[in-house]
Symmetry: C2
Subunit: 214 residues, 2 copies
Amino acid sequence: MNSPYNKKDNESLSDDIVWHNATVTHADRESLKQQKSVVLWFTGLSGSGKSTVANAVESKLLSLGKFSYLLDGDNVRHGLNKDLGFSDQDRIENIRRIGEVAKLFVDSGSIVLTAFISPFISDRQQVRELLQPQQFLEVFIDTPIEVCEQRDPKGLYKKARAGEIKHFTGIDSEYQAPVSPEIHVKTAEFSVEQCAEQIVAQLEQRGYLKLSAV
Amino acid sequence: MNSPYNKKDNESLSDDIVWHNATVTHADRESLKQQKSVVLWFTGLSGSGKSTVANAVESKLLSLGKFSYLLDGDNVRHGLNKDLGFSDQDRIENIRRIGEVAKLFVDSGSIVLTAFISPFISDRQQVRELLQPQQFLEVFIDTPIEVCEQRDPKGLYKKARAGEIKHFTGIDSEYQAPVSPEIHVKTAEFSVEQCAEQIVAQLEQRGYLKLSAV
């Protein structure tokens, strides 16, 4: 599979591009890892189970000796994106940067999982377009809002209903469900373990967990 | 080695933190990769050989079966940081984001190399402070400016001397050399191959290429 970086379209800003030859390629890195790199872009409501299922998938991939990394609120919002707030503009920039970092991890040969609500189709589409067609799989964590609100692990729905949080996805801000996600997961009907198994099975069927052509 | 993310100091913004338990740890990822993750932060003048030597190091690490990734102008300036220009503020933000991305790669268990001029001590120090003490090695690519200017692979020094480029590091903008870099490399005295060997030897001596305690 090609590198997600299409260098021929880019004018290089590297300060010594003429002198250096990139000796390690994306193919080398995939070969070392014995897998095809891809972004598993989880999307779903707050409380839908994105992080939980993503963690369970990572655990399964680890046990298979596969190399993955999970980008989520814990490691992105307090670090790379700590300068961003929750305005529309900042939310778009938040997803853009996560997409670019996911692309770097794909270039490194990893399977990268992202767990963010990412409510807007246009933002998710922009990330998809950053990557080669087979390097982006949309994973719709499809949990009815009633179930999410019942779980309400951090009491956010309660606060949103009370008007203490504004622009809360699913309450007073839109969630645009994926139209044709590559992977569709229903956490209200299956256990976390089963959901993770379904996703890993998809990765296997689609050929990402070995090096032969996807 | 600990995760660079010190979660206890962070109030989590993840939307389902209570429900999920992070099952795959930084130690798991290092164990799978059989190495200790670290940032090799290359710094030096334009034309000093940062990218060239970093590429040669990556190539050697690949042949040793070690997992690395190189962040440089090619994959960062056109992607994650394409919204940034060359003002002082944007240069600082450029290095900050690269540091945060390097931290994510360290968390994933990788050896990450960065090849940016990064002329200011304070910016490099800020990146160092993002990481655990043994997860940051400053690599000073120490090439006399006369040699860099003679190489001038992209004709940038010529343009800077002619006043066509302003604020060019080493000409009309300061380069603050590292005071006590962990690794000191002289490309005017050794071949690219020898420089790369010196760096890999340092990684071996310091215990990064195996899993026993660093």
